[in-house]
């Protein structure tokens, strides 16, 4: 048992209070500590990824109590890669927040940030349903704090809506967990997987409700229709680095669906009988449509980006809803990709919007300083987000399309992905054209008098301010370049998820696991795909 498994949770959890109390009057020190913590987290996450790559499922029995009686942390490839993703994103976002001074616009930014990281990592690592709830709450309450960081009327109003929506969600989470426990008498994910297999359909009403309600809960986080409503206003009004960090929050919901609805309530389980996929798939398609229309119809940049996140979630969840290993692989690749793409765009938007007197309104306005640089970065970010080559979005999209070749998914799935892409492309092109191209024309007509009073923000962005955006875009390039090895890792990870027996054996020890008919989903009908 490696103690490092818990490090991504404990490190920020110990760091955050220290930052909040010891360094609460010294922003430089707080930044240094926070940054060092983020760096260390990246290092740890890399180590965990390497550890998980041996294919074993690593279990950490908290309090030295055996599962399912105590809480366990479980490190497999899936959790390792998501923790790593979180760590890298955190480093990028943190740099931006410090470089732009966002972290000084309210108190306790770094402490809340570290707690947020802790919550996210915990959600990825825990192997216990109720503990998942606890980590959801941690990451949510930290996100509430970060959401309203800096204050302001609209932000607080949007923050209030965000909090209310998620509190309603938390209530449902509890009800779902109660049902789950009432039906199975256990909370450990592996144990649940075992117990759920034993439930015949004739006695499955309770567990089915639990599965469905859990899906709804996770769908809130994943911003799926019809509960995506909270996302646009939240992301559009959150402080930019926070919106960028939130790029991973939606993924937590997606992760939970992958983990729980693939591993416990998978399509082959008698009790739930593919129930969730039936509903998840069309919901994902509608989500994608809503996001795409939102991008096309946006009047402001921040909502536009927020809707592009909605669209990307729809795209990804289409693949998740297929509930096959390969589709999950595609979803995971797209997950990583869309996290960086969204982060890049939100960070860039911050650089631009803070320099525009018009804010994020998509109205013609004089060009800001460094228009060319921003335009280039926006172009790259948009290319990533819209899923155009050469960045990773395109590969992700291809993989998802490839994974949805099954006739039951193809018509709706492909139409949604392809048509959605078109709307997003057009929407982003319109926005970029107004922001960066048309502005060059407007500048020519603006009398010099208007320039006499330059806005304080209208100074050029320092290299340090631009670096995080570039890094995020660079990540999408790297994802594309090293798509092969990465996909290998992810594919092994999703097979691990679908092959629950290993997970169960690792957590509960070797035992009789009720057999589930497991057709090899890929081998029969997938001549294109070669085993990596």
């Amino acid at each position: 048992m490696s103690h490092w498994i818990i490090a991504p949770i404990i490190l920020p959890a110990l760091l955050a209070p220290l930052i909040a109390y010891v360094m609460r009057y010294d922003i430089v020190l707080a930044r240094a500590a926070s940054f060092a913590g983020a760096l260390a987290l990246v290092a740890i996450a890399v180590g965990l990824a390497v550890l998980s790559a041996d294919g074993a499922v690593h279990v950490y029995d908290l309090g030295n109590w055996p599962a399912p009686f105590g809480i366990v942390l479980v490190l497999d490839r899936l959790s390792a890669v998501l923790v790593l993703l979180t760590a890298v994103l955190a480093l990028i976002v943190l740099t931006h927040a410090a470089a732009t001074g966002w972290d000084t616009r309210g108190r306790h930014f770094h402490a809340l940030f570290q707690f947020q990281i802790m919550g996210i990592c915990g959600a990825f690592l825990t192997g216990d349903a109720f503990n998942l709830f606890v980590f959801f709450e941690i990451l949510l309450i930290a996100s509430y704090g970060l959401m309203i960081h800096g204050g302001g009327k609209v932000r607080l109003q949007a923050g209030l809506q965000y909090v209310v929506m998620n509190l309603a969600g938390s209530t449902l989470f509890l009800i779902a967990l109660g049902t789950l426990y009432a039906a199975t008498g256990t909370l450990n994910l592996a144990d649940l997987a075992v117990k759920v297999r034993e439930i015949p359909i004739e006695e499955a009403a309770l567990i089915r409700v639990a599965a469905m309600l859990l899906m709804v809960v996770f769908a809130i986080k994943a911003a799926l229709f019809p509960i995506q409503f909270w996302l646009p206003a939240t992301y559009a009004n959150a402080p930019a680095p926070v919106a960028a960090l939130f790029a991973i929050m939606t993924k937590v919901g997606a992760y939970a669906i992958i983990r729980i609805h693939s591993m416990i309530f998978g399509p082959e389980i008698a009790a739930t009988d593919g129930l969730t996929g039936t509903w998840l798939f069309p919901a994902a398609a509608v989500t994608l449509a809503i996001g795409a229309f939102g991008v096309l119809g946006a009047r402001r940049l921040m909502p536009l980006l927020a809707f592009s996140v909605v669209a990307s979630m729809g795209t990804m969840m289409l693949a998740v809803a297929a509930f096959t290993p390969w589709a999950t692989t595609a979803a995971l690749y797209y997950l990583i990709h869309s996290t960086f793409a969204a982060a890049a765009l939100f960070l860039l938007a911050d650089l631009v919007v803070s320099r525009r007197p018009e804010g994020d309104r998509l109205d013609p306005a004089p060009a800001t300083v460094q228009n060319g640089l921003f335009a280039a970065l926006f172009f790259a970010g948009a290319v990533a987000m819209a899923g155009m080559p050469p960045l990773s979005g395109f590969l992700g999209k291809l993989m998802i399309l490839d994974a949805l070749r099954d006739p039951q998914f193809m018509a709706l799935g492909w139409t949604a992905v392809l048509a959605g892409s078109l709307l997003v492309i057009v929407g982003l092109a319109r926005a970029g054209s107004v922001l960066f191209w048309r502005s060059t024309a407007v500048a020519a007509h603006v009398p010099a008098a208007d320039d006499a009073e330059p806005r304080p923000e209208a100074r050029p962005a320092s290299p340090l301010e631009v670096a995080p955006t570039v890094a995020a875009i660079g990540m999408t390039a790297l994802l594309a370049a090293f798509a092969g090895p990465l996909t290998d890792f992810l594919d092994a990870g999703s097979r691990q998820v679908f092959h629950a027996e290993d997970y169960i054996a690792a957590v509960l020890g070797p035992q009789e696991v009720p057999e589930v008919p497991q057709p090899e989903p890929d081998a029969a009908e997938d001549p294109v795909q070669e085993e990596g």
């Binding site: 220290l18 309450i141 929506m165 256990t186 155009m388 057009v426």
Partner: protein
Amino acid sequence: MSSGSSLLPIIAILPFLGALIPGIMIRAGRTACASFTAIPTLLALVMLGVLAPAVMRGEVIQAEIEWLPQLGLSASFFLDGLGLLFAGMILGMGLLITLYARFYLSGEDPMGQFYTYLLLFQGAMLGIVISDNILLLLIFWELTSLTSFLLIGYWKHLPEGRQGARMALAVTGAGGLAMIGGMLILGNIAGSYNLTDILQQGDAIRASDWYLPALILILIGAFTKSAQFPFHFWLPHAMAAPTPVSAYLHSATMVKAGVFLLARMWPVLSGTDAWFYIVATTGLVTMVLGALIALFKDDLKALLAFSTVSHLGLLTMLLGLGTKFAAVVAVFHIINHLTFKAALFMSAGIVDHETHTRDIKRLGGLARLMPITAAIAMAAALSMAGIPLFNGFLSKEMMLDAASETVWAGSHLAVPVLATLGALLSVAYSFRFISHVFLGPVRDDYPAKPHDPPFGMWAAPAFLVLFVVLIGILPATFVGPLVAVAGGAVIGGELPYYSLKIWHGVNAALIMSVIAVAGGLVLLALHRPLDRLWQVAPRPEAKVIFDGLIEAAAGLSRRFTEGLHNGAISRYLAIFVAASVALGYVAWTGGGLAPADRAMLPIPPVVAIGWVLLAVATALVVTMHRQRFQALVLIGVIGLMISVGFVYLSAPDLALTQISVETVTIMLLLLALHFLPKDTPRESPLALRARDGVLAVAAGGAVGALAFAFLLRDFSPISDYHLANSYEGGGGTNVVNVILVDFRGFDTYGEIIVLGIAGLAIFALMETLLRGQAARRLRNSDYSQDRSRDRHPLMMVVATRAMLPIALMVGVYIFLRGHNQPGGGFIAGLVVSIAFLMQYMASGFAWAQARQRVGYHDMIGWGVVIAGLTGAGAWLAGKPFLTSAYGYIKLPLIEEFGLGSAFLFDLGVFLTVLGAVMLTLYSLSRIARYAGETVNVEPMDYDPSQRAGAVGKGGE
């Protein structure tokens, strides 16, 4: 395969690497920049030359680099005749354009950017033609859309440039997406995304059920890219780009990508009725329509653009005919069109550059002023018209030949007539170009004084025209082998009989050709009246329609989005509730329920009364919620009943927690309500309230029924283990507490972190509120209602003095016994908080806080850190986080008492809870003070002992 194979990827990557150069070199000057830009192109061209001989011999050069094997995507390249032809065209034209652009672009244009985009585009285009993997091809395909977007929008200050770029992106992007679908289906049928594999499986593919969808999707991609009707409209608007771009993308390369794809896929997709009717018909219509429009365009570049549309239609038609001969003709015409059309574009660019206008109506007589340009342009235009001795003639003849033998839906006449019409129109607009621009008298009203440009500018078109003539005269010598090898690659088998020569004798094609030339000249003569007719004739303006469509789509999207996301969280929540209930119901009905095997417990009357209180209070909260304070009082009843219920149902810990949390929560709500309106206005209309009522009842019924369902059924939970091991393993008899601090201590650790975060976030928000504009509003607000004058009544203060220590004792007691009896750190924290709250209510927060020695931040910090370090302490023993350790200590006189790590952990819990509650109260009180409340210096309003002069003073 061959040693050349390693060159292929290098050729593919060179333009992309080269794209970095302009940015670096631009500081060295424009000429240096252009020269260095040419280097990668030149290098690639040289490498291509190295590979050419082998390809000409019929070899296919292949290279493969693994990329994403799981998907079937690899960086595979192959070079056959078709690829060689196109690669040569792309690189060769690239060089010429680089040269031409150096002179064409003005000093104000960002040249570095231009060359970067140009090289990126070149790389993308090159990638398309040498990809051996259709997914890779798709990548390059989309890249051409993106890079052309950048190039068309290069002059970003011009609205036409921006709109043209967006339109091109939208149309070709949409086509690209369709093609993704088509290609994936194709790969799916073929079982491989490798082009060479797919090309082998034409029969299987054509026989597949998925053939037609694949065909249509791929054709949409090809047609949009190659500006085929009805997607032709974007191309003329792309002419807003600088002329070098038009010459390169919109005549020579990108628009040919669609044609290339048709040629590439020809062995696989052609030969079916669907192919013939879709492709040939589209090509034919495009050819005629493009030519017709070209005739009436006054903008030189527009004329050329529509002529390009027409010629692309011609190529498409040829490939669509499905005969090997026609396919070879298409290959030949690709070469010819490249040479004359690029030359024409460059000439038009020169005219524009020199006269500052492209309007044909303002031009004429330029032959005398700029003879070199005129010569070049006229030679190219004659070729375009299909006049003998120029290469256009040859391929046009062959095209007419192919057309003359085509039967379309039983008609022998349709295709030949339309093809002739197309040729006729082509003659007309070509001659119009010649006569209305270069011939006629010299005018005196040119916007600028025209003269021939420097050599550098006309060198490129001249070079191309040289080929126009050479091929026109000696076709077999100059392009014979290339046509053969490329044509062979297209048809993927034996070449048909054809001959590249000027004179084939008098045949149908010649007659059609003569008709075309004669008719074209007549049409030109009638141009003026026809033009007038054209101008008044109603015709759809593609741009208006497209813009309208996009605007409508955007507008609809906006209305849809804003209608859906209208900011009404109450609606979002209603949908959420409805969806949860509905989905839950669906899930429920899909499975059965085990028989109820658990006997129901009796309901004593007192419990029933408690239920009545709870239910009535809830109903009252709902009905009276608009009187906020009253609702809060009623909430108190509900909380109390729940606590009692917990006691009754054997959950003393829960009861203690519930009642104390409840109290603190109500305090917070009261504190907040102080600032908020005291009443809620009645705002929702009756219908909405009815809807909410229905939802509420549905949700309540559903949750209640769910609970009832499981309450009647037994189960075997894991908690037997906890009961069995609580004392032995956890050292406590209160199993709930042992679960909280030991079995599931990690939950509790998370839980106190939630509290800590809440404290921090609340504090941070308070600070923010007091700094911003809100602070001013707060200062100006008047919260002084009709208040009682006694703030800190004597009785309360005195009673609190006695009760605070007692309450603290209770807190300590509850904390210490928690492990064995109901209680614990959390409840103790709340009890102590409530005790302090009492003190604060008595004497005011500020007065009490001034006597407080420990900071709340510190408490939270210490709490979280102590809990964390206690958990981490287990690492020292090599045990996992939160492994508990305890022992029994015997002190003399005192009985044995247990001391465990759980105690420390619980201490952390205690501190955090206390700190968080206090920090929250502190924050709210800060706001109140900011809002103008004063701070008392003494604990009570008035100490009557002052009256007696007995004791000096109250405060310190």
